[in-house]
């Protein structure tokens, strides 16, 4: 058990993680895929900074998150979007205003779920609730996104949710597991971007709707 962090660190961490939650909502609100990628990068940087500020094992995780998820993966996604020359609008299945409302309901749901769990310290419960919220929001944006890139962004947000869960516990994750996760993520993005260009070649579009159709 380490000593509680000083007041300003605790407050800054709270602030950064809250902004990360706002980023997840922004992902639902924006219609432009470019902005979506930037928002994902911002969210990763915010969470990485929070990890660094928390100290201990969080420093390594945080630096890794900022470098990989804040810079490399967004750069890769931008390059992919340029290559396939996709239209920038994401037009989701559900209008943003409604989608945001569902997002708020999901947030309330996960906070209520962790409030009901006995035996968790309040800060850990808050962290887990935030993590669950991010995961649910990521899944929701995967469900409503029409373009395949929206699905990729959704699963990346789900991974950010896992990151929050990891930094909100006392012992963090061992750095090797974190490294493994990071490279997993990188490979996943690469593979899915290959998949996107294949989908684009076959169907001349990256609407996930069209994947229902059989094609020889």
């Amino acid at each position: 058990m380490t000593a509680a962090p000083p007041f300003w660190i605790a407050q800054t961490v709270t602030f950064l993680t809250a902004l990360a939650l706002v980023c997840a909502f922004a992902l639902l609100a924006f219609r432009s895929l470019h902005l979506g990628i930037r928002v994902y990068a911002a969210q990763s940087v915010l969470l990485g900074l929070a990890g660094v500020l928390l100290g201990g094992g969080g420093v390594g995780m945080g630096v890794l998150a900022i470098g990989l998820k804040g810079a490399v993966i967004p750069w890769f996604l931008f390059k992919m979007m340029e290559e396939i020359g996709v239209r920038r609008e994401s037009d989701p299945y559900v209008p943003p205003a409604l989608s945001l409302g569902v997002g708020v309901a999901l947030a309330l749901l996960s906070y209520a779920a962790f409030k009901a769990l006995p035996g968790l310290s309040p800060s850990v419960a808050g962290g887990f609730a935030l993590s669950l919220t991010l995961m649910l929001l990521g899944l929701w944006s995967m469900a409503v996104g029409r373009k395949v890139i929206a699905q990729i962004l959704g699963i990346l947000v789900v991974e950010n949710g896992l990151f929050v869960a990891a930094i909100s516990t006392e012992f963090r994750l061992p750095i090797f597991i974190e490294l493994g996760l990071a490279f997993d993520l990188l490979i996943a993005v690469m593979v899915s971007s290959l998949l996107v260009s294949r989908i684009r070649e076959t169907y001349l579009s990256i609407d996930s709707e069209r994947l229902n159709r059989l094609k020889g």
Partner: protein, 317 residues
């Protein structure tokens, strides 16, 4: 009258008198950002003076409503200015009205502006009124929720007490709930004051205008008063943002050093917010009208999250 009372009264009068200067500052900053030279800081005063001296011309089909609109609009907005704390964490009308009264004092001018747009029977006026009503019906809930988030922090809806609480908080004022509410209020301010992503204040293009369409039939002194009220409304919103959502600021007592410091901080924060408005107006294009509900829906959700995180869920680690 005590010195505190006089200072509270004086700050509201200063807000009314200096509102055109703030509008001029935003115009100048925008011009600088866009590599133009831009008008003088005091150009809005010259415009107002010019409008005030001119003869008022009223359409033959207009009723008394058109004549009454400028006075109601300016009166309502000026009354709202007396509810807003600026340099001192107190307001002259504090005992008479709170945040909710402020919202309704700002709603009266809007109602009369819309009536004025309809009154003369020109097509543009009606179009502007209908758009304004559409925008404000989605902006008002977000405005209410954002103010309530700050009111929950202070435990009261009295605006003076809310500013006092924020000034006392200092570093602890940087909490997620208040930040979210501030962001929501900023978006609402852009929509309510007819700034760029929602309405372009610099154009008279028929197809896109909202605020300008409603006041097309106004002229002379009436036009001047309405434009002054518009600038004052922007000043009120930015002052609210500065005093209720940014920590350190309003003076708690009425001795000269505290008052001076409060006024300096208030001016500094207003300048920072003016830069923010100018940046937004330079960086964004006007939204299509039917995208405006999405924009204000975002503001509403931000305000809702802010309210929730003040009470039910403590967002963040």
């Amino acid at each position: 009258m005590t010195r505190a009372g006089a200072a509270a009264f004086g700050q509201s009068l200063a807000l009314i008198a200096l509102a055109p200067l703030l509008a001029g500052l935003i115009k100048r900053l925008k011009a600088t950002l866009q590599n133009r030279r831009g008008p003088d800081l005091i150009q809005p005063y010259r415009d107002l003076w010019k409008a005030m001296r001119k003869e008022t011309v009223v359409s033959e089909t207009a009723s008394w409503v058109t004549l009454a609109v400028p006075y109601v609009v300016f009166g309502g907005t000026a009354a709202a200015a007396f509810l807003v704390p600026a340099a001192l964490a107190d307001t002259p009308l504090g005992p008479a009205g709170d945040a909710i009264a402020l919202v309704y004092l700002l709603a009266v001018p809007r109602f009369f502006l819309a009536l004025g747009g309809l009154d003369a029977g020109s097509a543009f006026g009606g179009m502007g009124s209908s758009r304004e009503m559409m925008i404000s019906s989605s902006a008002e809930p977000a405005l209410m929720l954002a103010l309530f988030a700050a009111a929950l922090e202070a435990g009261t809806t009295n605006l003076g007490a809310m500013a006092r609480r924020m000034a006392e908080l200092g570093w602890a004022g940087f909490n997620p709930g208040l930040a979210l509410a501030a962001a929501a209020l900023f978006l609402v301010a852009l929509a309510e004051c007819g700034r760029l992503p929602v309405d372009n204040p610099a154009t008279h293009l028929e197809l896109t205008m909202v605020h300008e369409a409603m006041i097309l039939e106004q002229s002379g002194r009436g036009l001047g008063l309405i434009e002054w009220a518009g600038m004052l409304k922007l000043a009120i919103f930015l002052t609210l943002l500065a005093d209720l959502f940014l920590p350190w600021g309003a003076a708690l007592g009425a001795d000269w050093t505290q008052l001076g410091l409060g006024a300096a901080l208030c001016v500094l924060k207003l300048c920072a917010l003016a830069v923010a408005v100018a940046l937004v107006e330079t960086a964004t294009a006007k939204l299509r009208l039917f995208r405006v509900p999405d924009f204000l829906g975002t503001a509403f959700v931000l305000a809702l999250l802010a309210l929730l995180s003040q009470g039910v869920v403590r967002i963040g680690l």
